[in-house]
């Protein structure tokens, strides 16, 4: 009997803690529910509808079929992947090299240099894109400098040429984000015991060897993290291409990204919210896949 009562009391206590626990997280849960879970579910239902503006009809898998047959979607997907396959490695390597150089204790003015390289990432996305647009315009400073140096005879139409427009986008995002990634590496480098590097130096390992066989492996988790966040960032690339091309993703859709295409489908073209929602789910699936890769790689290391 006493045993049963004790059990009851313990059960009561458990319920007491349960109820209170849930009460404590209820406000947060409520907000997450309204602003995160509800939109996610609602956009998922939206993605099985299609139509013009508010005149939506149930379409089932119709939007997926349309994606499959839509050359502009595939163009946007290819562009997005081109951007991150070329840009992410360039940026990561650059950030690593700069971080390593700045970590050298003999370097003078390292604080100043560090700030200078990090500074671009404080600038607003739209502001720096507009800056790049004017720098790379036909009469822009880039053309004038190159002509002044005798490297070109004629101004190059950077933003009206499909190839060079991509180059400008990649240059711009590299300039903006390299410093950001560099900070992660610098922080990680400062946690590496200097004696490891010293021991290797005494053993006669050259500096490039110390960089590739000691520093890089020790930074692996941070490199992985920055690679994945950069990849996700590039998948969602929007502000830069929007500002550089006045929202068209031109020339010849050469800079059209998935996010910009979603924007156009919703706001510039005949509004088709269902189809746009379906494409946004493509980005969700891609991001989920890449995040899974991250977890997988981290688990392997342990």
């Amino acid at each position: 009997m006493a045993n049963v009562m004790a059990q009851n009391r313990r059960g009561g206590l458990k319920r007491y803690y349960d109820v209170n626990g849930w009460l404590f997280i209820a406000p947060a849960l409520l907000l997450i529910g309204i602003f995160l879970i509800y939109p996610i579910i609602s956009s998922l239902t939206l993605s099985v509808y299609s139509g013009r503006g508010m005149m939506m009809k149930f379409a089932g898998f119709g939007n997926l079929v349309r994606i499959y047959n839509d050359p502009i979607f595939w163009k946007a997907l290819t562009n997005t992947f081109t951007f991150f396959i070329i840009q992410v490695p360039i940026m990561i390597v650059l950030a690593l090299v700069i971080a390593n150089a700045l970590n050298n204790p003999k370097l003078r003015f390292s604080g100043l240099l560090r700030t200078a390289i990090f500074l671009p990432c404080v600038s607003s996305l739209v502001a720096y894109s507009i800056l790049f647009k004017s720098m790379f315009s036909v009469d822009g400073i880039v053309n004038r400098t190159l002509i002044g140096l005798g490297l070109m005879d004629q101004p190059l139409n950077w933003l009206t040429d499909p190839f060079w427009a991509k180059v400008v986008v990649i240059t711009a995002i590299t300039w903006r984000w390299t410093g950001y990634n560099m900070i992660f590496y610098l922080a990680a480098l400062q946690n590496i015991d200097r004696s490891i590097d010293e021991a290797a130096r005494i053993d006669g390992v050259p500096s490039w060897g110390r960089f590739f066989y000691l520093t890089v492996p020790m930074l692996k988790p941070v490199i992985l993290f920055t690679t994945i966040t950069s990849t996700i960032g590039t998948l969602q690339l929007f502000d830069e291409v929007y500002s550089l091309t006045e929202g068209t993703g031109g020339p010849s859709n050469a800079t059209l990204t998935l996010s910009l295409y979603i924007y156009n489908l919703t706001f510039r073209f005949m509004p088709n919210f269902g189809y746009a929602a379906t494409i946004s789910y493509v980005i969700v699936v891609l991001v989920a896949l890449l995040s899974f890769l991250q977890f997988y790689a981290v688990r392997e290391r342990r």
Partner: protein, 422 residues
């Protein structure tokens, strides 16, 4: 205005009388208006608001200036979300997009049939805002196009104003080459990511991306083919200074970098803002395509005012538009003289300002000329997918310039457009 005190007085008295007789409910709200272009639509709306406030001091105006793309985006978001209190009372919509908004957001805009006398307006403007027998907006400006050129540059190259009258685009290219040889200036500028020039050329032959039934008309469209070929020819002939955006485009001709520009009459305000260039500009008819049916007149843009159905100030907004835009002839004279706004109210066309010579354009009667060309603009049906087709056309322009045969380019455009216009 000061020169016509009697007439003004009579008009005001008549207006005041009409208002009293109508015994309209006393309005006392603030009318919020969204529009773009501070030198044009915003300035015109301020003038209209000031006129209305004179007769109805209790009505105030809140005119919000956005970029055109932002107006459309905010409007689309507001309509789609159903949060109507985020919307203005009156919004400006470009004519190309009118049917898109009317058809995709039914009951979002207030029908004004019966409240506005539409018979006084250019029929094409009324038609593009009519859906299923109801007419929804207040027709505003026309985008009749003209060839704006620098007299001084053309003269230096040995051309008289008469040499630019009623020419073809081929002749325009020839003149452009001569101008560059003599003055070192490019003939014109163009935004290659923008479909505006294609639309000007195509409409000059009475064609559009769609036929009258709204069906895609690309591969068999001789005017579209001609428009694309003419633009490729211009680029290949080297007479075009490419622009990478609207500001770049405007800067090319306001800074004196290029000798001419073909665009809508609404650019007049921007050109005349360069007071140092007074007397150096001239206006000629739009060049035509070298094909039967193409005229020396076309249209680019133009927009109209729409009242939001759910607006609290709906009746007040409609009464404002009907009173100023619907019948105030003097208002139209003022915005024409000040801003170059060619309204679509036919009664305003006989006003004195239309006959005035403009010293900025070397003493030409520019408004009379635009008015004459406006009467010749071939009517077309814009349909609901102009932005999609613009995108398909500009995306394939590079291939055409690179030498791909025009018929194949048209096939590519049609293929891209077909998946976009579902």
């Amino acid at each position: 205005m000061d020169t016509l005190p009697l007439k003004t007085f009579a008009l005001r008295a008549a207006l005041a009388g009409a208002t009293l007789l109508a015994a309209a409910p006393a309005f006392a709200g603030e009318i919020t208006i969204w529009c773009w272009d501070p030198n044009f639509n915003v300035a015109v709306m301020r003038e209209a608001g000031a006129r209305y406030t004179k007769a109805h001091p209790e009505t105030t105006f809140n005119i919000v200036d956005f970029a055109k793309a932002d107006v459309e985006q905010k409007l689309q978001t507001g309509l789609a979300s159903g949060t109507t209190n985020a919307l203005p009372d009156i919004v400006l919509i470009e004519d190309y997009g009118a049917q898109k908004f009317l058809q995709s957001f039914p009951d979002a805009f207030a029908p004004m049939t019966g409240k506005v006398d539409y018979s006084g307006f250019a029929p094409y403007k009324v038609e593009l805002m009519t859906l299923e027998g109801k007419t929804y907006g207040m027709p505003f400006d026309s985008g009749v196009t003209g060839l704006f050129y620098r007299r001084d540059y053309l003269e230096q190259a040995g051309f008289k104003p008469a040499d630019l009258e009623n020419i073809t685009w081929d002749r325009y290219i020839e003149i452009g080459k001569a101008v560059e040889a003599k003055t070192g200036k490019k003939m014109t500028t163009q935004e290659l990511n923008n479909g505006g020039m294609t639309r000007i050329m195509m409409q000059s032959a009475g064609k559009w991306y769609f036929n009258a039934d709204g069906e895609l008309d690309v591969t068999g469209n001789a005017a579209l083919k001609g428009a694309l070929e003419a633009q490729a020819k211009m680029v290949k002939a080297g007479i075009v200074k490419p622009a990478t955006g609207w500001n770049d485009y405007v800067n090319a001709f306001t800074s004196g970098d290029v000798a001419s520009v073909v665009t809508g009459v609404w650019i007049t305000g921007t050109i005349k803002a360069q007071t140092a260039q007074a007397g150096k500009w001239g206006v000629a008819p739009t060049p035509r395509l070298d094909m039967a049916g193409s005229t020396n007149a076309s249209n680019l843009g133009g927009s109209s005012w729409y009242v939001i159905e759910s607006s609290k100030e709906k009746d007040e907004a409609i009464s404002f538009l009907a009173e100023i835009y619907g019948k105030d002839v003097e208002f139209y004279q003022k915005i024409l003289a000040d801003r170059g706004a060619v309204g679509s109210l036919t009664a305003a066309r006989s006003g004195a300002v239309y006959q005035q010579a403009d010293a900025f354009f070397g003493g030409e009667q520019v408004w009379q000329r635009f008015s004459d060309w406006l009467a010749k603009v071939p009517p077309v049906t814009y349909g609901i997918f102009t932005n999609e087709l613009d995108n398909a056309v500009t995306a394939n322009m590079q291939a055409l310039i690179a030498g791909k045969p025009a018929d194949e380019v048209l096939k590519d455009i049609e293929a891209q457009a077909q998946t976009q216009i579902q």
